[in-house]
């Protein structure tokens, strides 16, 4: 069976160029970057080069980049690194890594988002307390693709003298990132969301921010993250970042046209469909659609059995799907949340795939509405 992947916000395939860049690092440049000999120096060179590329990708300087294992580590390192024992202000639409880490601080305030998934910066201002040590607002929402007004929020955090972190995991590889223009102090990215492998990522730490490490040991990453560096992962992350810098104008136009084609076709040809979070500025690759009276769980499975991978929410402990908290956060009911499907496109998709998805989707939705006529 021909299979097509429409879940690029969950993870992405490693691009051949990325694999080609990292594979020889594993087998040939295997030295420990901390070693003083030739092998160590070769590895150190790869690591330093990668750090310069990732810094450029984010609009930062190399010393502001801490390589991590990915998004969850980056978020945890940022939050515990500057706000342990203090108060955090976050939004209700944050990723579970930010929600979970902030929940371990002495207290946190969750600021609501509106029906488009956007936070009102003034709500952030009002939530700040004397003991607030961090404000964490995601750059791009994973479910909706909504782009938060980070620069406006940054003005407020700067006035208040509170550090500003943003989870940029869903932004990297989809929108341009300039940490200086965004005004953030800390910024998390993860490699596997933009064509590098799982297990590599980076945290931007603005010069002057005093970050306490999460894990203790050697003096790696300027005492901010102990542990022998994942050199191949850093190389892969840098390679993926370079590919984005090289071709993002073309790729953004291409993916955006595919997404619009899919969204238009669904809205035009499937009755009772709505775009969740419509009206927000959003990334070009994602659309989150609500199908009136449809349970997205069997729809997702039916599509998977036809060879189309989409997302119907987040997986709970057992692997069953449950509606994403993001959809509740934008004011959807539980039923509306259960009726929603996220399609996230990427470099692996082309127009023929999108057209095939549209046809399969129409058939599956019609079949579902036939077997559950009570919902129709």
């Amino acid at each position: 069976m021909q299979r097509y992947y429409f879940d690029h916000n969950a993870t992405t395939p490693v691009l051949p160029e990325v694999l080609a860049a990292m594979a020889p690092v594993l087998t040939e440049v295997y030295g420990n970057p901390s070693s003083i000999h030739y092998y160590g120096q070769m590895a150190r060179q790869k690591l330093d080069e990668s750090r310069r590329t990732v810094a450029k990708f984010l609009g930062a300087t190399p010393d502001e980049i801490v390589f991590t294992s990915g998004g969850t580590e980056g978020d945890n390192l940022a939050i515990f690194g500057v706000a342990r024992g203090a108060h955090a202000v976050i939004t209700t639409a944050e990723h579970s890594a930010v929600l979970g880490a902030s929940g371990q601080l002495s207290s946190m305030t969750k600021v609501p988002v509106d029906g488009r998934g956007l936070v009102d910066p003034e709500d952030i201002r009002r939530a700040i307390r004397p003991d607030t040590k961090i404000i964490s607002v995601m750059h791009v929402n994973n479910e909706l693709g909504a782009i938060q007004p980070l620069a406006e929020i940054a003005k407020i955090t700067r006035e208040a003298g509170v550090l500003f972190h943003s989870d940029g995991v869903q932004a990297a590889g989809k929108v341009a990132i300039d940490v200086a223009a965004l005004g953030v102090d800390l910024y998390t990215i993860s490699g596997h969301k933009f064509y590098a492998p799982k297990g590599c990522g980076a945290l931007y730490v603005r010069k002057g921010v005093d970050l306490r490490p999460l894990q203790h040991g050697g003096h790696h990453e300027r005492d901010r993250r102990a542990g022998t560096e994942n050199v191949a992962g850093a190389v892969a992350l840098a390679c993926a970042a370079q590919i984005w810098m090289d071709d993002h104008e073309i790729e953004t136009r291409r993916v955006s046209a595919l997404r619009d084609r899919l969204e238009r076709a669904i809205l035009d040809r499937v009755p009772g469909t709505h775009v969740n979070g419509a009206g927000a500025p959003r990334t070009p690759n994602v659309t989150n659609i609500r199908f009136d009276g449809i349970d997205s769980e069997p729809l997702m499975i039916a599509l998977d059995l036809r060879g189309f991978a989409v997302s119907s929410g987040s997986a709970c402990l057992s692997g069953a799907s449950e509606p994403s908290h993001v959809l509740t956060a934008i004011g959807l009911t539980k039923e509306q949340g259960r009726a929603s499907v996220r399609f996230s496109l990427g470099r692996s998709n082309d127009q023929a795939q999108v057209d095939a998805l549209i046809e399969a989707l129409i058939e599956s939705v019609n079949a579902l509405r036939r077997v559950a006529p009570a919902y129709a």
């Binding site: 349970d295 998977d304 709970c316 402990l317 057992s318 692997g319 069953a320 077997v371």
Partner: protein, 368 residues
């Protein structure tokens, strides 16, 4: 999907794993589905470490997925938590509080497995479902009905819990294990290389640890912010004497002797529970005997609803050996009166009454 597909309800146990294996060997196109029914992280005070009867644990899902991977069939966990709580757990608790002794397995079969699960299967493109239940189905062209028969392995027979199944449900259902002994099923499991072949059978009510339903109800009440003390009351004899107090009507079921904590000479049994007055009525053993009962919400399976009195063997509990009786129609087609040949002990409202004719399951309903 172009070909006809069967959805196998996979619990992670040996039986449903063998079903998947047997159907695959037969060449069916399959999809394995595990129903996530209950969040085991709820009611943490009930947590048990033992292997006894905890459904939907991560271990069971792991096992089911392992089996599906072994067989190479597509596999998904589907979220039924909300439906299960609404259709099974809450009615189960309500019945107890109403002084009856419910059977959640029958509720689950009626409203989850052979209703919403069938719908889920159809939704993913599977026209039919197969489960590991021990029961047999066959088409009778003479009366145009799907008939249900007891399983070949008499100790495993689950027809008592399947008495609510309707013809349209049976038409889309397969019980591949009904014709086999459990020992054969375990043999199949080994033959098919099922990774869980040696797993022990599950016991009791799946979501209630150690069969302690009273503790479950108390914990559920606390979680919901209700007070279990609201069902405490008096123990009263059949002739009206108050002989003690009890911790809640849901701790008692008709025929129960243990846990009464009474210092009375002769053994006493629970004769009935009266939620309105929160009284539990106790009496002597012979006071438990009943010559007849009414059965409501009757569903006829192997025969159409009879207009005349019908002879049958009737089971009033899962472990009850069927008793000879005559079933009398009433003015209401969903209700019958059952008159036993010999009075029966502990006819318990809330339990199922299932009517048999030899191996054939005629139908059944709820003891009123």
């Amino acid at each position: 999907m172009p070909e006809r597909t069967t959805a196998v309800a996979m619990s992670g146990g040996v039986d449903s794993s063998v079903v998947a294996g047997l159907l695959q060997r037969r060449g069916d196109k399959l999809v394995g589905l595990t129903m996530q029914l209950w969040n085991q992280r709820r009611l943490p005070e009930l947590a048990t470490s033992g292997p006894t009867g905890r459904c939907c644990s991560i271990d069971d899902v792991y096992d089911a997925r392992h089996v599906a991977q072994h067989l190479g069939i597509p596999y998904y966990v589907v979220n039924f938590e909300q439906r299960f709580e609404e259709q099974v757990v809450k009615p189960f608790i309500d019945e107890y509080l109403a002084g009856r002794t419910p059977i959640p397995c029958t509720l689950c079969n009626n409203f989850i497995k052979f209703d919403q699960f069938l719908e889920m299967a159809a939704g993913v493109g599977a026209e039919r479902i197969a489960t590991g239940h021990y029961a047999q189905l066959r088409w009778n062209p003479d009366n145009g009905r799907w008939e249900m028969l007891r399983s070949v392995d008499r100790t495993k027979d689950q027809t008592y819990f399947l008495c609510g199944l309707k013809q349209d449900q049976l038409a889309r259902t397969e019980f591949p294990l009904g014709g086999f002994e459990k020992s054969q099923v375990r043999e199949f499991a080994r033959e098919l290389g099922i990774p869980t072949a040696a797993k022990p059978d599950s016991q009791e009510i799946c979501f209630v640890p150690n069969g302690d339903y009273a503790a479950f109800i108390d914990s559920y009440f606390r979680e919901q912010g209700l007070s279990p003390t609201e069902t405490q009351g008096e123990l009263v004899t059949t002739d009206g004497h108050v002989v003690g107090e009890h911790a809640g009507v849901h701790h008692f079921t008709v025929g129960q002797r243990r846990g009464l904590k009474l210092a009375v000479g002769e053994p006493l049994y629970v004769i009935s529970t009266e939620p309105a007055t929160r009284r539990v009525v106790v009496g002597r053993g012979e006071e438990l005997l009943r010559g007849s009962m009414h059965v409501k919400d009757v569903n006829w399976i192997s025969i159409a609803s009879p207009a005349e009195p019908t002879r049958a063997e009737v089971r009033i509990r899962n472990k009850h050996s069927a008793a000879g009786a005559t079933i009398f129609p009433t003015g209401d087609p969903t209700r019958v009166e059952v008159r036993f040949d010999e009075p029966q002990r502990a006819v318990t409202p809330g339990q199922s009454a299932v009517f048999y004719s030899g191996e054939l399951v005629l139908g059944g309903g709820w003891i009123d």
